[in-house]
């Protein structure tokens, strides 16, 4: 531990805000979650100084994990500079004094809302998801008593029927985010509202994936190198989104793109949602089609 970083933490609060007993309680829940991949472990979620639904689960998981030598990256929608990411990053800077980073490669802990970074993660990294609704069956069955029973009995027929009905009505599974996954061939779990584009990255990921739902008071986990399968049918295999054009800024064709409206007559461009990915490519000299054409003229 470097004395400098520890000194930067706000002395009015315990390191990482929550007290050590509570951290131990969360760590016990995390250990149980890692032992039963995809199972939602109830935990004594504390009220945090950030609002419920704004990442209090992820914050508690990160707070229970983080040490003085960690380097933290926080993203929302793939970006480091969105309001939620800024607020959470500055919270941890204040109460831990740890170094923060915007580069995926440098981070030891990445707290995320709605995206998995494009750059593959390593065994030395932990990905902490903020989870609004941990229960993948909730929209089909509002009662927690019922859904816990359905998981216990591995009764997932209802979910398959829903996916089938989508295909019958629309020709596609009409779920583009929070696309349900089967973890370790046992529990159906919510990948949180990441776009289904990111689902394949969860499968056999070298990094530990932890999920914290503060308001719903649940923690679940996907240990490194665990099988994660997006639910589908043999004749309607799972597919991910694709775009016809590359990122306007960096020319990437393999990343998730956000649509940005640039004028009031329908003009729009597409740019990488993962800002670190996009900036890293531009630093390496990649350019998008627009700048390419500007250069050639």
């Amino acid at each position: 531990m470097s004395a400098d970083t520890a000194l930067c933490a706000d002395p009015n609060y315990n390191f990482a805000y929550i007290d050590e007993q509570t951290k131990r309680m969360i760590r016990r829940a995390l250990l149980k979650a890692v032992s039963i991949p995809g199972y939602q472990v109830p935990f004594g979620s504390r009220e945090m100084p950030l609002a419920r639904g704004w990442g209090t689960g992820g914050i508690q998981v990160t707070a229970a994990l983080i040490g003085p030598l960690d380097r933290l990256k926080v993203i929302d929608q793939g970006a480091d500079d969105t309001t939620n990411a800024v607020a959470i990053r500055s919270f941890f800077s204040r109460v831990t004094g740890v170094e923060t980073t915007q580069k995926v490669a440098e981070a030891t802990i990445i707290q995320t809302r709605h995206r998995i970074p494009e750059r593959p993660l390593t065994e030395d990294q932990i990905l902490v998801y903020q989870v609004p609704q941990p229960e993948p069956l909730r929209k089909l069955e509002p009662s927690e008593v019922e859904t816990r029973n359905m998981h216990a009995w591995e009764e997932y027929g209802l979910m398959q029927v829903r996916l089938y009905e989508d295909i019958a009505r629309f020709g596609h599974v009409a779920t583009t985010y929070s696309y349900p996954v089967m973890v370790n061939d046992r529990y159906v779990a919510s990948p949180t509202p990441i776009p289904k584009f990111d689902n394949p990255k969860m499968n056999m990921m070298p990094a530990l994936q932890l999920f914290g739902a503060g308001r719903e008071k649940r923690i679940y986990a996907i240990p490194p190198y665990t099988k994660v399968r997006s639910l589908d049918f043999d004749d309607h295999p799972f597919t991910v989104q694709s775009w016809t054009q590359p990122c306007t800024l960096c020319g990437a064709r393999d990343s998730y793109l956000d649509e940005v409206i640039v004028d009031d007559s329908g003009g729009r461009i597409f740019v990488c949602s993962d800002t670190d990915h996009c900036e890293g490519r531009r630093e390496l000299g990649h350019v998008g089609p627009a700048e390419d054409s500007e250069r050639s003229t």
Binding site: G44, R52, D76, Q77, N84, T176
Partner: protein, 373 residues
């Protein structure tokens, strides 16, 4: 050329300055003192203490000042502070039969031991503006003439009076009288026991519980409640530290308690009996305590073998959704960016519409006359 928006941190800092400026309002007007809020906005302070789940009038007054009077935001400040406090034990049960009564009414009996004590209430006022309050400095509180006789020392609770006749469902401690659960330490699990239910209702949003209680009265529930008793006053909180071995007095708090009496037709195992709903709140909070009592009774349906047909009878529905802080946090989280997910929806809806158009452009497989048949 689009450039990714940067500078989120500076913009967020600026919002902090702006909200501080808005909170202060016109600087020509004297600033509010938190003591004024504590003394003169007592009912707002009580609501913040209830939903903030923490009895501290000074902090609740500060929370109201900091939040510009937004009760939900103020309760949130209380909760975020409460979570940092160590929990050193449970108090001894409050004995509300022995509290210093300031108000005690029963709608079930014309008179009763201890009498009806009206106390401070808006109930019998005309809701006409008192413009004298607008003119500062002119409103010394009127001198209050004390009643002719001192109040009885013992004010038996109305359900206890009925209980002695066997007409009232008894409240029995569980075997071994275990310590009540604490939903702020262990997550609530459903079906939930009454201790957890009462704690969640006590922390619950007054408006939400009021609406549910109203729904029960209007017919979305099977009960007709009588206000058996509402009492408000001061009671001391007593605590027995392990190493001391005897109870000590931690101080006095103002509380409101309500017990609703409800019909119950009995079952094949039990003769007809009245049942009760229990409401309790910090400070002078009658509306909250009454709503809580009606909803508590409504949620007894499982234990009494009643059908749970209405919203106020469904415990997961009521208890998961009555928490002000969780509800406001999650509803308002919709303000956070969701553009990644929305992009997924855009991509899908365009694809489905494109396929729809392509199908429409294909030659029809049958003629319109056939289709009309």
């Amino acid at each position: 050329m689009y450039v990714a928006v940067k500078g989120g941190e500076a913009a967020i800092r600026a919002t902090h300055d702006l909200v501080a400026q808005m909170r202060r309002g016109d600087p020509c007007v004297p600033e509010l003192d938190t003591r004024q809020i504590r003394e003169q906005m007592k009912l707002a302070v009580a609501r913040v203490m209830n939903e903030g789940s923490l009895y501290d009038e000074d902090l609740a007054a500060l929370a109201l000042k900091q939040s510009q009077g937004d009760a939900v935001e103020a309760a949130f400040l209380m909760r975020a502070y409460r979570t940092t406090l160590p929990r050193f034990g449970s108090s001894a049960p409050l004995d509300t039969a022995r509290m210093a009564i300031r108000r005690r009414i029963s709608a079930a009996f014309k008179d009763l031991p201890g009498g009806q004590v009206l106390g401070p209430t808006y109930d019998y006022t005309h809701r006409l503006f008192d413009f004298a309050l607008e003119a500062a400095g002119l409103t010394a509180a009127p001198a209050v003439t004390p009643g002719g006789a001192p109040l009885d020392e013992s004010m038996p609770r109305v359900p206890d009076i009925l209980g002695s006749e066997g007409l009232m469902e008894p409240e029995r401690a569980l075997p071994d009288d275990p310590a009540p659960c604490d939903v702020t330490r262990e997550p609530a699990e459903f079906p939930i026991d009454r201790d957890g239910r009462l704690q969640m209702l006590a922390r619950g949003d007054e408006g939400f519980l009021l609406g549910l209680a109203y729904s029960v009265q209007r017919g979305f529930g099977a009960n007709h409640p009588f206000a058996g008793e509402i009492r408000m006053g001061e009671t001391s909180v007593r605590y027995r530290p392990e190493d001391l071995g005897f109870e000590i007095d931690l101080g006095e708090i103002t509380v409101t308690e309500c017990q609703m009496i409800n019909q119950f037709s009995g079952s094949k195992d039990a003769p007809p009996q009245f049942t009760r709903g229990y409401g309790f709140a910090f400070g002078h909070s009658e509306r909250k305590a009454m709503s809580m009592a009606i909803v508590d009774r409504s949620l007894k349906c499982r234990d009494l073998g009643e059908a749970a047909d209405y919203p106020a009878q469904k415990e997961e529905f009521v208890l998961y959704h009555c928490d002000t802080i969780e509800a406001s946090g999650f509803v308002e989280h919709l303000k956070l960016p969701h553009y990644v997910d929305f992009q997924g929806e855009l991509e899908l809806i365009r694809k489905i519409r494109r396929e729809h158009d392509e199908r429409a452009a294909e030659p029809a497989l049958f003629t319109p006359s056939e289709a009309a048949e």
